[in-house]
Amino acid sequence: MSSSCNNYEGGIEMKEQKVIAISGDEAVAYAAKQCKPDVVAAYPITPQTIIVERFSEYVANGEVDSEFICVESEHSALSACIGASLAGARVFTATSSQGLALMHEMLYIASGLRCPIVMAIVNRALSAPINIHGDHSDIMGSRDSGWIDIFCENSQEAYDFTIQAFKLSEDHDILLPVSVNLDGFILSHAVEDIKALPDEYVSKFLPERIPYYTLDAEKPITIGALALPDYYFEIKRQQDEAYKKVLNKFKEITKDFSKFSGRKYDVIDAFQIDDAKIALIGMGSTIGTAKYIVKQLRKKGKKYGVIGIRMYRPFPIKEIVRALENVKALAILDRALSPGAISAPLGLDIKALLYEYNIKIPVINFVYGLGGRDMSPKDIVTIFNRTERIAKRKIIPHGYEYIGVRE
């Protein structure tokens, strides 16, 4: 359970929020429905399928007035979303794993054409071997496509971030697509209690989209022109500049959202970090398990803390640096590989950050949970023990280690 969920100051009367027992996928579909997208174009893939199924039920029952396009592939799903977004529509889609890989080419076009689109990505392993369970290999392959990537720890965050993602994506200073990531099966299929806002509060928080430009026959514009070496670089730079505004905009949006929900979020979830000597940093559902372990071990006097990364791209550099102020050793948890690289993806990010900010602490990068392998509380304890050992010996192990794999 996220600590942030217990923070209700300034929110609307809690009795107005509906407590629903719901899976992560259903939470996303429910949030998307409340955001009233004009167009949803999607293709089913496990473990995302429930999102598409629930949404099509909402449409079939007239609970939402969206144009639902059941496309013939994920490539066409995102293509249709880009077309609809540029025509001025509020757009939503969802995918996973191979589906995201099939969208790969379109991911770059969506961000390059500055299309507001919200996509739920139910993170899953990539073939081969084929595997339908959760890890972060899919999103890591799409990491550099210019999307804003948000990670959820639980279904409540999946619900809350889906709503906030639309506001962020459609903001005229941003105009970038957003992915809301949730761990396959661990979150997508597990049923949890979530607190849902009444429809009218979602509409108040997220009024209808005002497009910056559209395909208007009366004011014709050319979209997707050919930009050769004389212009391409400047256009990509502008895109990067917009990216730099995302973190602050997200903070504004979450502040606004907390007025409705009472739930406060920051770009990172710094749990028990102020006096922590040993910390763990990671993303997704494992952060919940790690926080549970830290609570247990703190009772035994262990000064442990957890940093959960909610916003992965753009990377919350300053927030992480601040959180690491008193930390003496750090474990970095990766649920994906970057074969042949010196570390796994998050490991590379954090090691670069430490170098840039001249932070000289021992770090150890762990790769865990590939293809849905369970990350047990015992594994988290092992990680903390191992990190404490390297803190004492002040040596930095090279590369990365596996946790929970057979030798």
Binding site: E67, C70, S73, S76, C81, E105, I223, Y231
Partner: protein, 306 residues
């Protein structure tokens, strides 16, 4: 509503001159004819290809209509999204409905874009898809496509000492589309401008997905003088190489009967891509091409009597 003479055509051109297509470019003529017939308001979705790269070199554009390019293989999928968006937004009074044309070459239609096109037609989106056919990938330098005819030379089906040009036959694309039972489908040639323009109008007025396969020669790729584009486009029809027909309400109709076809040699002689077929050692390839043309013509004629 149909166009009967040149005088009836609107004066306003929606495709600006000064684009960077080649002299005598068939697809450029095709774009001009398309937009004159379509008029406003219309949105065009272009697939990657010669037309796209030569008309929108940033910061210039040749398009006086809302125009969008996304990728090579997904013009139909993008058009689906735009159509759905306008349907919803116009219902809410936030946008106006307008005609949507997806415009793609043979590579983007016969090959890489076929899946997206099939999906869009199956879902019944109300848009007109126009495939301008210049029978190879011209944008990347004349490589064979599923539309390249048997025996033709391209840079990936070269006429070598062992293999004399493309071994395979041209895909019967329009029939694949008709198998989806669209609201309207037709073939056309830029040499028969009136026929083509009226088909564009019919396609746009059709209630549902419409498809036009239009023959648009490429002087560069086919290696003929740039002042011969329209002649070649006409000879393709007169030799029965490219039959003109329509499909509406489950019925095929021949647009132009060719009772006495000109010899195919008249069509292939001015084109260097077929030069090797006139050599005695490749007589069999030319015969195979002729047989294919006749078999296709007979097939279409039969369909048109059903």
């Amino acid at each position: 509503m149909s166009i009967k003479s040149l005088k009836e055509l609107p004066k306003e051109e929606l495709f600006a001159s000064g684009h960077r297509m080649c002299a005598g470019c068939g697809p450029a003529i095709c774009v001009r004819q398309t937009l004159i017939a379509a008029g406003r308001p219309v949105i065009m979705v272009s697939a990657t290809g010669c037309v796209e790269v030569s008309t929108t070199i940033y910061p210039y554009t040749s398009w006086k209509i809302p125009w969008i390019h996304i990728a090579f293989e997904n013009a139909a999928a993008v058009a689906s999204g735009i159509e759905a968006a306008l349907k919803k937004l116009s219902k809410d009074g936030k946008a106006k409905k307008c005609d949507i044309i997806a415009f793609a070459g043979d590579g983007g239609t016969f090959d890489i874009g076929l899946q997206a096109l099939s999906g869009a037609i199956e879902r019944g989106h109300d848009f007109l898809y126009i495939c301008y056919d210049n029978e190879a990938y011209m944008n990347t330098g004349i490589q064979r496509s599923g539309a390249t005819p048997h025996g033709a030379e391209t840079t990936t089906s070269p006429a070598g000492s062992v293999i004399p040009g493309k071994k395979e036959y041209k895909k019967r694309l329009t029939d694949i589309i008709i198998a989806h039972d669209p609201a309207y489908a037709a073939t056309a040639s830029i040499a028969y401008w009136k026929d083509y323009m009226n088909k564009v109008i019919k396609g746009l007025n059709a209630n549902g997905p419409a498809f036009i396969h239009v023959f648009a020669p490429c002087p560069r790729g086919w290696r003929f003088p740039s002042n011969q584009t329209i002649n070649i486009a006409r000879l393709a029809v007169e030799t029965r190489y490219f039959p003109l027909y329509e499909y509406e309400n489950g019925k095929y109709t021949l647009s132009l009967d060719i009772p006495k076809p000109k010899p195919i040699e008249e069509f292939i002689k001015p084109q260097r891509r077929f030069r090797h077929l006139l050599e005695p050692k490749n007589r069999n390839v030319l015969e195979e091409l002729k047989m294919d043309i006749e078999r296709n013509w007979e097939r279409i004629k039969k369909l048109c009597t059903l």
